[in-house]
Symmetry: C2
């Protein structure tokens, strides 16, 4: 198949798949998701993504209809159906299909969705251009929900400005990007927002922190300001979909570029770990 | 028909209707809605609801595929298809059907949804029981979006406490309820949160303020605190679905009940205007 949609056991090309009008996602965005990619038919960091997926669902009291092991087996089986071995792997769960009403319906099972499309992470060598946007999101940004309106409005603003991503800030404090985490290098130390309700616990963020440890680069998990962002030696953007990239411009002003050596070591380490994890199985 | 779902021109019983997997509502909650009801096949305050619906869509740069007059004609035609003349009238627009990506897709039309179910507003004579919940929502509560997770979590909490609604507060400041506006009477004056990004501009709220004017009851549009809520002479909850009701209990403590005369005058005035507006056409 060229691409694949899965909904509660049904499988079809994405463009042909339909879902019930009464799936609660349609009225409330009542669900959570996770996403990673697949190379050589190996799904990158699948256990981590499944763990986070279950944590997101639990935070909203949604019961995923499969165990972690069953979901893993299902995804590993589904990716084999695509012609391309390089895929974007997306999955979500929505609370139920039931007549519209705010409180949870009783006695109905959650719906499991999977979407597979051919694709490969964007080249980490290409620098990103960013814009800054006030962070008006809710206080549940640690949960990977389907309530993403402020993120899409910010992403659209970035697109219209000819940029790749939007950096959110609550007042002076930088939180994260519309669909990435953001970090700075200053005087050889990596600084990143701590894990609070204001940011997603990014799996690419976690990988970056592991590589810092490998390279003996100190990490400080403390929020930084917009002024510190603009003044940073280097700015790093991470997300599962594109792994890692540096930013060279924010709001039209040149940024970073002052510690290319540490930057390159970090990007190479992240890419090396990724390539090792996705190497073809013997 | 017993009930009706409409999606871009297709009509079916709600339980049988399906929508595309790639409707952006499924991944982002990317849409807005409005809702009212219908008695004697007359849709209550339809122009006001359509006006607000277009304002919500414009705030998110979603282009509704019909004019206001066309949408009005469509809804008035659809309600006639139901067996019951008393209906919940719900309509929404979602940005597009397109491959998943945060920024807006280009060259695709928005999707129009309508849902009609038999139903009648809840009896305004029945007092409501409320709970208080910290308001963790985003800063776009003035837009009637499909990003409703904090509201459904709060509504579920109310349900589990055996209550009817949850009152949101940001710190000490009361904003509104999970799916209603809330107001207090104190010393003969009605006090209500001003129209900011923290509350929905309720159409039932607006009707209440009009009835205050008719009855020469002073109105102050200023936020009040939790302490003022508990100390109020009366507490009024309004929403289009159930019009108006008083609250008699919050977090298990008795509240209100200290100005039944003004309360009754207001409820009677709201219900009188509603019944006049929905009387059978001669």
């Amino acid at each position: 198949m060229k691409n694949l949609a899965y909904y509660n056991g049904r499988i079809a090309p994405i463009e042909e798949m339909t879902v019930p009008f009464l799936d609660r996602v349609c009225f409330f965005g009542d669900g959570v998701y996770d996403a990673t990619h697949c190379v050589n038919y190996r799904i990158h960091l699948l256990d981590d993504h499944i763990d986070r997926f279950f944590r997101s669902a639990a935070a909203l009291k949604i019961e995923i209809p499969l165990s972690k092991a069953e979901l893993k087996a299902l995804l590993e089986e589904l990716v084999l159906k695509l012609d391309s071995h390089e895929q974007n792997v997306y999955f979500q769960v929505t609370r139920a299909t039931a007549p519209r009403g705010h409180a949870f319906p009783v006695g109905v099972k959650a719906n499991l969705w999977v979407m597979l499309t051919p694709g490969t992470p964007v080249d980490p060598k290409r620098d990103m251009k960013l814009i800054t946007v006030e962070d008006t999101r809710f206080l549940h940004c640690d949960i990977k929900t389907l309530n993403l309106l402020p993120s899409i409005m910010a992403a659209q603003k970035a697109e219209e400005a000819g940029c790749d991503e939007a950096v959110f800030h609550r007042g002076e404090i930088v939180t994260e990007c519309a669909h990435s985490n953001v970090h700075i290098l200053k005087d050889g130390t990596l600084r990143t927002h701590p894990l609070t309700c204001h940011i997603l616990p990014g799996i690419a963020r976690e990988q970056l922190l592991l590589r810092c440890r490998d390279l003996s680069i100190p990490v400080v998990e403390e929020a930084f300001t917009l002024a510190e962002l603009f003044d940073a030696d280097e700015i790093l953007v991470t997300r599962s979909g594109r792994l890692i990239a540096a930013a060279s411009e924010i709001d039209g002003k040149p940024v970073g570029g002052k510690d290319p050596e540490t930057l390159t070591r970090l990007i190479d380490a992240v890419m090396g770990a990724y390539q090792a994890a996705c190497a073809p199985l013997k």
